[in-house]
């Protein structure tokens, strides 16, 4: 329609003065159409950003674009109702814990409905399931929160067993047990999260449902103000003060190597953790704040990560509920990309609950308000980032360098690419260029290392003349200083009055 009016306007131009008016009107119309299209556009016309060392936003090409969406409408399943969890198994089938409808749904990766579980009127009937995990053999494990148990189904959907509330001396008898997320590692251990914000950590169960202890609990950090308050208050006052508790885990993910990734939405830093087999965080060495703090009016909104997923290369994608954005980090917790956001458009979320990664790095995001799954596919830019960081993490710095150069051709601001190039130059022995690259990336540790190597080379080459020069300079300095001092020592400071 816009094209028609434009053509009409163009034809009018030059023939009679009204044509100009028409042309103007057409231009205005098409402009307003354009504006409205941009405002409701899908994600592929927008830009993304990364964060520099100060947390300032640097524009960046879109890493992921909206591909298609899956919902239950006009399918045998019917629509979803408040779905809570999404899982993608090793055949790339998509599983959904359809909490409000008390069932599991299975789709293929294109969104074709396959079947449902947990609705048969037998022992395996589900009540508000919130977590799902499918093992490599195809066994289906469900955190059946409403029934307070964990249920196992065979791949064909027959009920196998249910693990109820674990008993242990570590747990009270009246312990509230509402399992809402679970994963299973290769040894068959079951890692269960207790709903309702249990701060004691992950429940570690063996395959028979026997309680083996708590795993990977968050710790409270030292706080001087709290210590002061506690040391100056009486016992009665202490009871009035609300207890400070460590934060809980909201979700977890297990990678093929057995690392457990967790997210803690109420933490301010180290919200994403990679726990090794003894429950220690190996993702970051020092406290790192993931996500972005946002200022909304006078309020500061902290990110709340509610789900995390890791692809085969080790790229971590985490879903921030507050901003609705997905933050992607590499194997050593460097920010790679940001996309998504709150909104009603395509590629945005209203109540994002869970995410999972499918074939070729596609990211599936489950929205509990829109009751759908939106699928995003990585752009060429994101694929470059993933390849580059994988090569870098594996220590193939020179192969990575060619990819980082490609990345910089698309986005010259990209700090991680400059760091990668710096590392490559460093390995090749070109320390001066490495220092320049590190300086652009504002990577102080890398710069310092390259500088140390450069200094070593410089000293080795120039020691012959440097040493006499330094000795001479020290001699000159000491003589000048001692003479000046001697003069000053012998002075009397008769300075009353001074010059008029």
């Amino acid at each position: 329609m816009a094209v028609d009016t434009a053509r009409f306007g163009r034809r009018g131009v030059g023939r009679d003065p009204r044509g100009w008016l028409r042309a103007g009107a057409a231009a205005l119309l098409s402009l307003s159409l354009m504006v409205t299209t941009v405002a409701t556009a899908s994600a592929d016309r927008e830009y993304s950003w990364t964060l520099d060392k100060d947390g300032q936003q640097l524009r960046s090409p879109m890493p992921y674009i909206y591909d298609f969406e899956v919902d239950g409408m006009y399918k045998p399943s019917g629509t979803f109702k408040n779905p809570a969890d999404i899982f993608i198994d090793k055949e790339y089938n998509v599983w959904i814990a359809d909490t409000g409808n008390n069932r599991l749904l299975k789709f293929d990766e294109r969104g074709n409905y396959l079947r449902e579980f947990g609705t048969a009127e037998d022992e395996g009937k589900l009540n508000a399931p919130e977590g799902i995990y499918v093992t490599e053999r195809g066994d289906i494990w469900v955190a059946d929160r409403g029934n307070g148990r964990i249920v196992q189904y065979a791949p064909d959907g027959t009920f196998l067993k249910a693990l109820g509330k674990p008993r242990s001396r570590l747990l009270e008898e009246d312990q509230v047990y509402q399992p809402n997320k679970l994963v299973i590692d290769r040894r068959g251990y079951i890692y269960v999260l207790n709903g309702g914000g249990d701060y004691r950590g992950i429940f570690l169960l063996d395959s028979e449902g026997e309680f083996r202890g708590f795993f990977g609990a968050n710790r409270l950090s030292f706080n001087l103000a709290r210590l002061l308050v506690r040391s100056f208050t009486t016992d009665a006052q202490k009871k009035q003060i609300s207890k400070v508790l460590p934060t809980h885990h909201a979700n977890l993910f297990v990678d093929p190597r057995g690392f457990i990734y967790t997210v803690s939405p109420l933490s301010q830093q180290d919200q994403i953790k990679k726990l090794n087999s003894v429950g220690n965080n190996v993702y970051t060495t020092s406290a790192k704040a993931f996500g972005e703090r946002e200022r909304r009016g006078t309020q500061i909104v902290n990110p709340q990560f509610v789900d995390v997923t890791v692809d085969e290369q080790g790229i971590v994608s985490a879903l921030d509920f507050n901003s609705g954005r997905i933050y992607q980090y590499d194997q050593s917790a460097n920010l790679l990309a940001i996309f998504g956001g709150r909104g009603a458009q395509r590629g945005r979320f209203e109540l994002p609950q869970s995410l999972a990664v499918g074939r070729e790095g596609r990211i599936f995001v489950l929205d509990a308000n829109r009751n759908n799954i939106q699928i995003f596919r990585p752009t060429e830019f994101a694929n470059l980032l993933h390849d580059g960081s994988k090569l870098y993490f594996d220590g193939k710095y020179n192969e990575a360098a060619t990819i980082w150069e490609e990345v910089l051709r698309r986005n010259s601001f990209y700090e991680l690419a400059h760091t990668g190039l710096g590392k490559s130059f460093f390995k090749r022995g070109d320390y001066v260029t490495a220092m320049e690259e590190y300086k652009i990336a504002r990577n102080k540790d890398g710069y310092s290392q390259a500088f140390g190597e450069w200094r070593h080379d410089f000293l080795r080459e120039n020691f012959g003349w440097l040493l006499p020069m330094v000795i001479f300079a020290i001699w000159v300095l000491t003589t000048v200083i001692s003479r000046t001092m001697k003069r000053v020592m012998s002075m009397k400071l008769e300075t009353e009055g001074g010059p008029a």
Binding site: K53, D54, S286, A287, K288, K439, R442, K444, D445, Y447, S448, Q449, F451, G452, R455, T484, M485, R487, V488, M489, S490, M491, K492, L493, E494, T495, E496, G497, G498, P499, A500
Partner: protein, 277 residues
Amino acid sequence: MTARSIPAVATPAVPRRRVARPGAGRAGTAARWRAAAGRVRWYLTKWFRQMLFVLTHPTEAFWELKRTGDWASVAFLVFLAVMARMLLMSFMSFHYIFQGVERTKWNLERVMQQFTATMTLGMTNFIYNGNPEDTSVIQEALRILIPFVTWCLAHYAIAMIFYGEGGLRDIMVSAAFSLSPYIFFSWPASLILTNVTTLAERSLYFSISWLVNLWVFYLFLTHIRIIHDFTFKRTVATYIISLITVIIIWSLVALVYALTSNTYEFFYELFYELTTR
């Protein structure tokens, strides 16, 4: 009509300001400039010697400063401290600027550094924690000026209560001269050490910064002891109470600001209502 000079070194006689004689006309312009330059040189020489004296013989130097100190030296030395700070920042090598580096580790070195820096109210800071492009001279000047002025006022008030002998001029002059280790050593340390050492060897730079901070702290204690003729115990007591007073002054200023900004807003909105209705 000869100017008084410092006896030990033959400084050139500074011409006095002459009364314009009838008939001299404008011929004296060059002479007046020369005289002004002479006076400037005289003062600079004096202050330089006093600084060196403070560094080498603090006790005698502060004793002398009670007699020979002048107000102008306060402005000059604070200016030098600001310049030293700017030089320190501009000489600092890229990898020593701690923007975005998490320094979460607490070790003895850092505790001592924090302690001495606190005792000098952050006036003699060595760590540059900013973005080189965002540095502002005014901001850095205020970071020295505000603690300096509040310290002097607070200390003046407390010393009066403690029957100290020193007046406001003695306090300000000797506090300014106590900054001389920072003025002399901060920027060479930054120039030489941060451009020669890597981050792994950073303790070399930070121990120097710690020593200078400690030195300034010692000079503060000494000048309080000397100018007020206090015992050591009384000196330490005054020092600590003055520090507390500084904090009280700052919190009072913050309180007053919070209250007045509200009243300002109130009157502004009242005015806005009245004018737009």
